[in-house]
Amino acid sequence: MLKTRTIRSGLALAITVALVGTLAACSSGDSSGGDDKSLEVWTRSGPEAAASYQPVFDAFTKKTGIKIDYKPILEFDTQLQARAGQKDLPDVLINDAGSLGNYVSQGFLLPIDKSSIEGSDQIADKTWDENRGTDGKYYGVPWSRQAAVTIIRKDWREKLGLPVPKTWDDLSALGEAFATQDPDGDGVADTYGMVVAGSAQSGYALRWAASYLFQAGGGLLKYNGDGTYKSVVNSPEAATAVEWMRKQFCTPGVVVPGSINLTTADTPFFGQGTAGISLTGPYNISTFEANVGADNVEVIPMPAGPGGGVTSLAEGENIYFGASSKKTDLQKQLAEFLITPEAQELAMKVTTNEAGVVSQPVVRIPVNKTVDVAAVTGDPRWTVAADAYNDSENFPYAIDFLPFRQIAADELNAMLSDCNSDIPAGLKKIDDGFVAELKNQNLSQ
């Protein structure tokens, strides 16, 4: 009896020790050394975008012998926070240009000496300037830029005998026609006009609305030129834009029903063949082609707003240098390679990798001025996308724009969800929110 008990307690002890050991092993992170010739690079990508990055990094390794430990990560910011807690950031991060202000405020980034970057003169000064922090220093090397484009189901439009929309009214009419005239010819009213991610979550509503806001002549924040900003959101132009957008939501079928609660992950309607108008980044061209057929995806010049404005929302990705990295020279070499025409062109190609994944180009509009989009892609639709970028406006990258984005998206979502909403009051609310947040970030004059 006693013996059994001794065995039992011995066993319990052994199990406990084993368990503790496993836990300890789990919690100890591995920190990479500083002297090896390798770089840890993170990008915010799913498998399709990763398939586009991989050949670029392979080419870099081949050229320089520097190994790239590449990690495509979808939950980028959550993972980054975890690494920041260990004071061990990746050497190089490639992520939204819009994250610049936020990352700088958290101390994640090393400033960049623009003049020391070989090939920096092949990037437009305007593009470089977007990457200045509020202190005037550069914090990211531009990698890719893009602007929202209007993509249309060409076969549907032609079947209904409608012209390419040139104005907002045309676009609205096309949306209504898609909803009411059965463009897919199946005899069921199951098609809609516009795909909109209208949820306030992560600021989606603003991401969609911003282009129309700009086209009507409205704006969000205006730079005062001295490190401070002014809220310009409460304007008659903005009211016109919101009224038009609300009309789209309130005319049955023009916007896919239920869109007010949806994020981009929940809006696969264009690809599914249930909606025919999408305001989105040009990176979706290849995705849509795969779903609905290459000939059916039409990229049109932006339909003009009431004053003839065609400005759309610009976004982009930057190459950031992690602040805890000691490999400054290697970081610089990678950035210099990534902005060469060779690397930019590689990342613009749609290829299929060994695993059968069709890549989604990660360079949309190249930052390198010497690269010709039309020549590389051989696709006139990308010329339209490049034109859209030439008349575009971005959210300010230098500041932490996240809170502003949320304030605007919350109120936009509220105004669009109710067909009798008080638009001037809603804009006033955004304005108040902006003023308070500018003060909070010490950005008001």
Partner: protein, 320 residues
């Protein structure tokens, strides 16, 4: 932080023997021997996991609520600023109101529906067993899946499933989750649909414990169905109901998944609850300090609510 409020749940889910506790002779304090070490050794793995995955994060969360969280630059102590921010934020206060309405409505709705189901489906025939299993399915289905299915059912056009049924009886298409005036109600309905069967099972267990002889003597006395419910069933169900209510009190305040998958807090913030606000502040807005402060407040509120529900039901039981 959501999982933290599981803590009290574990302690209240234990079966509560209503008699016997007081009759046991008072235990003498035993000398510390090697034998008394053994139970603790067996407990170590569980305790260790608890400390690492529950209490550790909980303490860390409380610490974070007092600092401006900057993982890389180092945290900055700011006292109660995060709490002030939470309590003076109109959106948090709105979210609190929605949480209370949703939590309360859902708890009461699920209690009534669960009791109704239990009364209908009590018994031991095979047919009932099958129906009970079918009714219980929402509980074991992933909430994300349930949410997705309900979103399809509640599609806000004439072609949507529920709208097409309404259309047959001449009711015009409803906005359901897209209409800020009705969205909270439909989220509540889905929540009730999910949680009622769970309550049903607890109440069924309570019903099974009722002495059949009571029913028989009642039948001899010629009581009506209502009298039988009023004087036999409901009093006997009191312990089961108190468990159901306690669980509801704990769950209602930290409601998240249903709302997140159904509406994400929209439209116009009409379904935003405490936890969705915490989530968007913490993980979308990167303001972990404020999110932690809000979570700590939630923990305190849950504790207070749980303890008061227990106190009320204990007092009632003692008064019996």
């Amino acid at each position: 932080m959501t999982t933290l409020s599981n803590g009290p749940a574990v302690s209240v889910e234990r079966p509560r023997p209503s008699t016997g506790m007081a009759e046991r002779p008072p235990q003498r304090r035993r000398r510390f021997t090697r034998r008394s070490l053994i139970p603790w050794l067996f407990l170590v793995p569980g305790l260790l996991l608890g400390v690492i995955f529950k209490f550790g994060p909980m303490i860390e969360g409380i610490r974070m609520s007092f600092v401006k969280v900057q993982p890389f630059l180092g945290d900055e102590f700011i006292g109660l600023d995060n709490y002030v921010k939470v309590l003076s934020d109109q959106r948090f206060l709105d979210a609190l109101a929605h949480t209370v309405v949703l939590g309360g409505g859902q708890a009461i709705g699920a209690l009534i529906l669960g009791t109704g189901l239990a009364l209908l489906l009590e018994g031991s025939s095979r047919r009932l067993w099958f129906v009970r299993t079918a009714v219980f399915l929402p509980v074991v289905t992933a909430v994300a899946v349930v949410g997705e299915i309900w979103r399809i059912l509640l599609f806000p056009t004439e072609s949507g499933f529920i709208n097409s049924i309404l259309g047959m009886v001449g009711i015009q298409a409803q906005g359901f989750l897209s209409d800020p005036n009705t969205s909270l109600g439909y989220v509540m309905a889905v929540g009730i649909w999910i949680s009622a069967p769970y309550n049903m099972v607890i109440i069924l267990a309570g019903l099974a414990g009722i002495d059949r002889a009571l029913y028989e003597s009642a039948a001899v006395d010629g009581v009506t169905t209502w009298q039988r419910l009023r004087y036999i069933v409901f009093p006997a169900l009191r312990p089961a109901l108190s468990v159901v209510l306690t669980l509801a009190a704990i769950r209602s305040l930290r409601i998240f998944t249903e709302v997140f998958v159904l509406t994400g807090g929209g439209p116009a913030g009409s379904t935003e609850v405490w936890m969705t606000r915490v989530f968007s502040l913490g993980f979308k807005g990167n303001d972990l300090g404020v999110a932690s402060a809000a979570s700590v407040l939630l923990l305190v509120a849950t504790l207070v609510l749980t303890v008061s529900v227990r106190m009320v039901s204990n007092r009632k039981e003692r008064a019996r």
